[in-house]
């Protein structure tokens, strides 16, 4: 019985429960929601957001934030379009590599400025949001590359399924698993939580804070680059405005999934569930023919609910710790 109650205390429980509840509710009103095409669409829509949310989790856990992910996605997606157009016959793996590396470089710039110059990440990534978007505009101009400019095999990554799950979603799941294991099991991953909880204490304890923060931004950039490639595979056009405005959606997904903005807590699984929840809301509201105008308001309410739940649970945790420490004395 105790085991069951401990499940309720999982950080991810609220978002998982909300997701399951939403799916059940929508299915009961409109069964096509869970038909194979419907499920495939849900997973595909969520894939890109999930990858971005996973990267953002790494950053948020260390008490930083990365607002430039939308611009990074736009640049890497456009780079994919340019690559296929300039080098016809280029192997798809090479294009993946180009985009991911480009994302890594852009993330490294962020990481350098934040970790070495010790400037708040909010400001730096706000600046790079503008700069990377400007570069994207300057590079692309009015040019757009469409699905027809890319080989069919590339586009099919978003179409072909294995056991009903689209290929790009499988890629995302693998990435997710790797990052989750890293955060939960590997020493340097656990260090990130320490940095997010109290970076001065972590430094005194011997955690190489600067190196870790730099690495986190690079990792987020790499993941954003990957998201850019998958975006180019799934959607039709890539150009100067691709990915604009995505950053707040990504942060919302992470926050709803239990990753605290104040750092130190949260998991990639939670962020992924948050991303899945947000994309599901969009689809389910459409499926049950609720006025689509309610979507954004619902998303906003969810974020607030998630933050309140987080606060309540952290208050409870503090009280429990205080009580248990008092008892130990």
């Amino acid at each position: 019985m105790n085991r069951l109650w401990s499940v309720l205390r999982w950080r991810e429980f609220p978002v998982a429960a909300a997701l399951v509840g939403l799916v059940i509710l929508t299915y009961s009103v409109n069964p096509t929601f869970l038909a194979p095409q419907g499920v495939k669409d849900l997973l595909l829509n969520a894939t890109i957001l999930v990858i971005l949310a996973a990267g953002q989790t790494l950053v948020l856990v260390t008490q930083n934030v990365d607002l430039s992910v939308g611009s990074v996605l736009g640049l890497t997606a456009y780079a994919v379009g340019v690559s296929f157009a300039t080098f016809p016959g280029i192997p798809i793996i090479a294009v993946f590599a180009i985009a991911i590396l480009l994302g890594g470089v852009l993330g490294a710039i962020n990481g350098l400025l934040v970790s070495v110059a010790k400037v708040p990440a909010l400001v730096i990534t706000l600046g790079t949001l503008y700069i990377y978007r400007g570069i994207n505009n300057a590079w692309a101009g009015g040019k757009q590359y469409f699905a027809g400019d890319r080989p069919d095999s590339f586009g099919n990554l978003s179409v072909q399924t294995v056991l009903g799950i689209p290929l790009i979603t499988l890629i995302a799941l693998v990435i997710l698993a790797i990052v989750a294991i890293y955060l939960a099991g590997v020493r340097s991953g656990r260090d990130l939580y320490a940095i997010g909880s109290d970076s001065d204490a972590a430094k005194l304890y011997g955690v190489p804070v600067t190196k870790r923060i730099f690495a986190v931004f690079v990792a987020n950039g790499l993941l954003a680059g990957l998201a850019g490639v998958l975006y180019a595979s799934r959607f039709n056009s890539v150009g100067a405005t691709t990915g604009a405005g995505m950053e707040l959606q990504v942060i919302a997904a992470a926050v709803v999934g239990g990753v605290a903005i104040s750092g130190g807590v949260g998991s990639v699984v939670g962020a992924a569930l948050g991303g899945l929840l947000l994309t599901t809301i969009t689809s389910s509201l459409t499926a049950i023919r609720v006025d689509k105008f309610w979507q954004q308001a619902v998303v906003g309410a969810l974020i607030l609910a998630a933050v309140v739940i987080d606060r309540v649970s952290s208050l409870r945790m503090t009280r429990r710790l205080r009580v248990s420490e008092a008892r130990n004395v």
Binding site: V65, L113, A117, K118, V119, P120, L122, V123, I124, L126, G127, T128, L129, Y130, I131, Y132, R133, G134, I135, N137, A138, G245, L248, I251, A252, V255, A260, I261, S262, D291, F293, W294, Q295, Q296, A297, V298, V299, G300, A301, L302, I303, L304, V307, V308, R311
Partner: protein, 351 residues
Amino acid sequence: MSEVLSAEIVAGRSTATRVLTSRGAVMWYLVLAVVIVLSLVVPRFASARTAGFLLLDVIPILMIALPMTLVIITGEIDLSVASTAGLTSAVMGVLWARGMNIYLVLAVCLIVGLLAGAFNGFMVTWVGLPSLAVTIGTLALFRGLALVVIGDNAVANFPRGLTTWATSKIGTTGIPVFIIIVLALIAIFAVVLHLTPFGRGLIAIGFSKEAAEFVGIDVGRAKFYLYVATGLVSSMAGIFWTLRYSSARSDNASGLELAVIAAVLLGGISIFGGKGSIPGAVAGVLMIGVINYALRLQRISDVVLIIVTGTLLIASVVGPSIFEWLSRARHDRRVHKDLTITANTPLSPAS
């Protein structure tokens, strides 16, 4: 932050020096310099028309930047300002379309702003949530409510008298009449921040919340008032926006929050809190506005402006960091030199 303080230096700096060499003042010198350069270099820049168009463009950002400065100085942030403005615009459109008296509509809109700000303040101070997370949530919530209220429609037939008044200019100077209201707001916020104990309390909160509490400042209440003020001013900006374009839409003022924050940070307000000034914020807004306008006039693509804004923002925070690092290095070197001299000086004739 380590500053080299000696009694000599502290005693020597007069208020005039401090004010005239402060970050805010430096921003003003830069703005004036930029205006002069642009007047000489860009044709047609130096004219009444510029003053008119530029100021009209800049007014919403300028208005919201004022309470935002105070909020950031206390160490918080408010990302929902543009959504509050948009919600106000939507409410204004819907109520006017239903036939409500226009002045009643304006009053309701201001109340909407007050309530929105109060909600933010309640969540941040009473429930105790981090402001970044809360205002990301209300950013989506308020914009969503705007959509629910007005949907895809646009209301355009506002009373001609009001819309012309919103864009009318003072005589032949080209300066919009509305600037008088904005100047009044600037004066109010400047006085509150720089000349009242309440304002000094805000700066104290930004430096250290705990210390401020110990001194007796009611941190919760102060922040709550700030958020209410932010909501109110955001709704004023929303009203101005609607009247100026004579169009109430759900996507009005979309994305304005980032422009406001970028301008405020550029103006020398520290994101950590505890440092900043109203003149600095105003200078930051004008700097971006002036450069933006000049680029538009020269038909230079927005791309350049976007990159310039981003670079200015990063430079404005990295610069002081580098400066501080340099002065700390100099201090360390001086201390090291003193210690070495002391170490090398023989202690007794025998050694």
